[in-house]
Amino acid sequence: MKADKMQSFAQDMAAEQIEKAQEIRKSDKTILQVTSLKKHYRQKNKRNVLVRSLDGVNFELKKGECLGIIGESGCGKSTLGRVLIGLEEATAGEILIDWEDINDLKKKNRKELRRKAQMVFQNPFDTFDNRIRIGDILTSTLKLHDIGKTSKTRKQIVLDSLKQVGLLPEEDFFKRYPNELSGGQLQRISILRSMLLKPEFIVADEPVSMLDVSVRAEVIHMLRRMAEQENTAVVFISHDIATTRYIADRIAVMYLGKIMEMGTANEVITSPMHPYTKALISNCGDADPRHKMEPLKVKGEPPSPMNIPEGCSFSDRCPYATDRCRSEEQTLHDFKEDGHLVRCRFALQHN
């Protein structure tokens, strides 16, 4: 019964995804291209220690696509988010937004960069200044980017969008202060504010991890709906694989500053190829006690990005690791030639 359901479900998913993929290809517009992106930090008191937060990240994002980035804490996923929208500067590598280098954009016109690349933060309770009313926060954003001619039209735009995302009565929300709202409401306003600028892409850094489980779905639904409406690409950063799969078209799994595996969400979740991805997914529990998880055991905890092991960075924890893994750097490889990239030499052998 269950297997049937899963299969039909998987088929539905696949069909849906193929359709989506075709749509994307039709428009075939790359909005974000990231090439060998690196971000290294030096510790304050130990200047010779290099923290390699991002260590060569490559990917591209098409218009309207949602890329999920999953990984444990310290894998560099949040750093990636901040670098992508230019809040931090990369140490090396290139970020092209709509085929323009992010650094050029920044120099030329910072506002334009902000209009193209937006961000939703993790902590909705701290995203707004508690002294300023929601309405003023939103209208001032419009004013900053010269959207709407008069303050009256701006107010109308804000009221309409509040109504559109179901924050009703909208006049009421317009007048409220941030500390009077719940986390879910605040996060929806945060998404709304980013979307008011109609950006090319939006980075959502753990947007629901601080919210109660019962309100997460509405926030994710809203993000997905608004992104689809405006054909905005989304980089969805999360440690929660189930949630990410729920929204993402493609998923990239990060470990110690590198992408270990990347493919369509369906592929990565249902047939993961990298041992790390397998471990991560098999360790995700289900709220149904009838499906006990069978976690793939891996040794220890992720090493700190200060001393990444030689060779494959997962080699010291990997149950399948060989001497070659420990000495040779691995590269992302498309084994099945279907766009499912894996950074593991033995990916095919384990399946």
Partner: protein, 328 residues
């Protein structure tokens, strides 16, 4: 046999001009040797319950009423000296931030043996070291950890150490208050599996407080669902999570995204927000968000209804044993 019997327990936080019923007349039995998961969202009172029972709350800003019988002795009315004996050595708690207790300038050994000596002043050095090594071995830590400083240990190792510390006097009840929440899933599962083994060995009763239902589904026998300071439903996980009687349990399960089933499309959120506990209300606190709410739900407080001796719920209009898929 029940080891901890909570009877009609209420905990209120007192403000200048308000009073928050953080735990509202909760009765709950914890059987010896069982593992109970307490789940709830923020503001459900899940943490306050145990803090209130162990009287770890500030007495000037909070008030605890009711009874909590640990082997027949009421912890709420017990004098401080007796309570101190029970706390830590009979019932020990590990908090989410437990790893922060270690003093940064002392080695783990110094820190742990100081605590050991407080309770066993006559212990010899050799004896302490052996004891501590055994403790660490229980949570799969090598004895080298003893000579290390807290900053040399990873988050997972520190949390393991604090769990080892809480087992120092072989407590009967181990309370884990979001103890593994901050850790990565892989580490979290490792630690919880280790705890399962320790439990067998030491005949521990475990209370696991968390917002993560998958952890309860995988690592606990029983579950108690809290909402707005009240107990909504309690029973074996196979019952409560699969055939919930209380609409809130169902909604909570359904808002939990998983990918074994329903990975896309059907994750719901519960409309509305939790009632403001600063204000008095009648009836069921979930009535304003519940699709099955009737007039009665808004006026009368639901009383306990039992399915069997282990499974009870507090709802006027319970679900009739359908699966969690029963439509909302």
């Amino acid at each position: 046999m029940s080891i901890l019997e909570i009877k009609d327990l209420s905990v209120s936080y007192l403000g200048d001009d308000y009073k928050v019923r953080a735990v509202d007349h909760v009765s709950l039995n914890i059987e010896e040797g069982e593992s109970l998961g307490i789940v709830g969202e923020s503001g459900s009172g899940k943490s306050t319950l145990m803090l209130g029972i162990l009287r770890l709350l500030n007495e000037r800003t909070s008030k605890t009423e009711g009874e909590a019988l640990f082997r027949g002795n009421d912890l709420i009315s017990m004098n401080k000296k007796e309570l101190a004996k029970v706390r830590w050595s009979e019932i020990s708690v590990v908090f989410q931030k437990a790893m922060n207790v270690f003093s940064p300038v002392h080695t783990i050994e110094t820190f742990l043996s100081d605590i050991y000596k407080v309770h066993r002043p006559n212990a010899k050095r050799q004896e302490i070291r052996k004891e501590l090594t055994d403790l660490l071995a229980m949570v799969n830590l090598p004895k080298q950890v003893l000579r290390m400083y807290p900053h040399e240990l990873s988050g997972g190792m520190l949390q393991r150490t604090s769990i080892a510390m809480s087992l120092m006097f072989r407590p009967k009840i181990l309370v884990l208050d979001e103890a593994t929440t901050a850790l990565d899933v892989i580490t979290q599962n490792q630690i919880l599996s280790e705890i399962l083994e320790i439990e067998e060995k030491l005949h521990l009763t475990r209370v696991l407080i968390t917002h993560d239902m998958s952890v309860v589904a995988n690592f606990c026998k029983k579950i108690a669902v809290f909402y707005a300071g009240r107990l909504m439903e309690v029973g074996y996980v196979e019952d409560v999570l699969v055939h919930p009687r209380h609409p809130y349990t169902r909604d909570l399960v359904k808002s939990y995204p998983t990918f074994s089933e329903d990975g896309t499309g059907t994750v719901i959120s519960i409309p509305g927000t939790m009632i403001d506990l600063k204000k008095a209300y009648t009836g069921c606190p979930y009535a304003n968000r519940c699709d099955r709410a009737t007039e009665q739900c808004r006026t009368d407080r639901p009383m306990e209804d039992q399915m069997d001796e282990h499974w009870s719920y507090y709802c006027h209009n319970p679900l009739q044993g359908g699966e969690t898929d029963e439509s909302r």
